[in-house]
């Protein structure tokens, strides 16, 4: 009898979704992204990058490309922020939407980027609701929730204020 109850309890535990942010639907009813979908890619330096591994940090996820002028003008600031706020918990991650990695590697070296960059694709773009124009930035809180979306050239002053405010809270 007790063994039977134990089996049922174990089955119930297995069937119940774990109460975590990751189990929530990614998109709200109005189509906005609530939880950043996880992805795993190899970065330009050959290291495996999983977005989920940055849980606990404030992540600035930057979709960009070498052919996107506004993207290039933002990137030196991102590198500076990684230096300034990295120790406080900021992690910048770049996702290039270029067709091939060669020009991306050139820009990575030219701009002395100090944060990981991976190559994106249509599937990754769609998982974020579509990357249908650049630049595009997501700000993701330490629990993996999307707390900001900036399409087009961002107001970097405002973005930096938001980052500083979030880092103070965490």
């Amino acid at each position: 009898m007790m063994a039977g109850v134990r089996v049922i309890l174990v089955a119930l535990c297995l069937a119940t979704p774990t109460l975590s942010i990751a189990s929530s639907p990614s998109f709200a009813s109005d189509g906005t992204l609530r939880v950043a979908p996880d992805f795993t890619r190899t970065d330009l330096k050959g290291k495996t990058l999983s977005l989920r591994s940055y849980r606990g940090k404030l992540v600035l996820l930057n979709f960009w490309a070498t052919w996107c002028g506004p993207c290039l003008s933002e990137m030196p600031r991102f590198a500076a922020w990684q230096n300034t706020y990295g120790a406080a918990g900021l992690q910048i991650v770049g996702v290039s939407m270029d067709d091939d990695a060669a020009p991306v590697k050139r820009v990575y070296a030219k701009y002395h980027l100090n944060y990981p960059v991976v190559m994106g694709d249509a599937q990754l773009g769609e998982s974020f609701g579509g990357v249908l124009g650049l630049p595009l930035i997501y700000l993701i809180d330490p629990d993996g929730r999307v707390v900001g979306r900036y399409q087009g050239e961002a107001d970097l002053k405002q973005l930096e204020s938001q980052i500083k405010s979030m880092l103070r809270r965490s």
């Binding site: 490309a65 070498t66 052919w67 996107c68 002028g69 506004p70 290039l72 939407m97 270029d98 067709d99 020009p103 050139r106 820009v107 030219k110 994106g120 694709d121 249509a122 773009g125 769609e126 579509g130 990357v131 249908l132 124009g133 650049l134 399409q151 087009g152 050239e153």
Partner: protein, 159 residues
């Protein structure tokens, strides 16, 4: 004397090194603002054309980037290639090579804000240089997501 001549050579050498470092990815592009307003087409007008059963359909060519086209593009639009690069321009020229010069063509990109698009003016100029007289350019102010998809105009996915 020889030393002075060498000194005069330094600025040229420096400029050459700078230019050679930039590479094709960072090449200056012709701004979309150079396209005459009369040749622009508003998204609403193209969407209405697509909906109309009787309106003659233009040839719609995407002259932007593959990864963006794959995620969402205008139905029946063909992917040509990024016209901001020589390879893309060559593909565009090849695609229209057998068309009559009065073929109605609509080109679009939408990768970036209008003033920053590296492709659209290059594609427009190439078609004009080839003698095409009925070329319209879809005016996408911010990006294809904001100015087409989010307005509920029809899209399809895939290559």
């Amino acid at each position: 004397m020889k030393h002075t001549a060498m000194k005069a050579f330094y600025p040229f050498a420096f400029a050459f090194i700078l230019l050679s470092q930039a590479g094709p990815a960072l090449a200056e592009h012709k701004p979309a603002a150079s396209i005459p307003t009369a040749d622009l087409m508003q998204p609403a007008d193209l969407a209405a054309n697509l909906e109309s059963a009787s309106a003659p359909k233009p040839l719609i060519l995407h002259v932007g980037f593959r990864k963006l086209y794959t995620q969402a593009h205008i139905p029946d639009s063909e992917y040509v290639g990024a016209a901001g690069k020589d390879a893309g321009l060559q593909l565009l020229r090849k695609r229209v090579a057998k068309l009559t010069k009065d073929t109605a063509i609509v080109i679009y990109c939408g990768c970036c804000p209008w003033s920053d698009c590296p492709n659209i003016a290059a594609a427009y100029d190439a078609l004009h240089a080839l003698g095409f007289t009925q070329v319209k350019v879809l005016y996408i102010a911010h990006n294809f997501g904001d100015n087409w998809v989010n307005l509920g105009y029809p899209v399809v996915k895939g290559r």
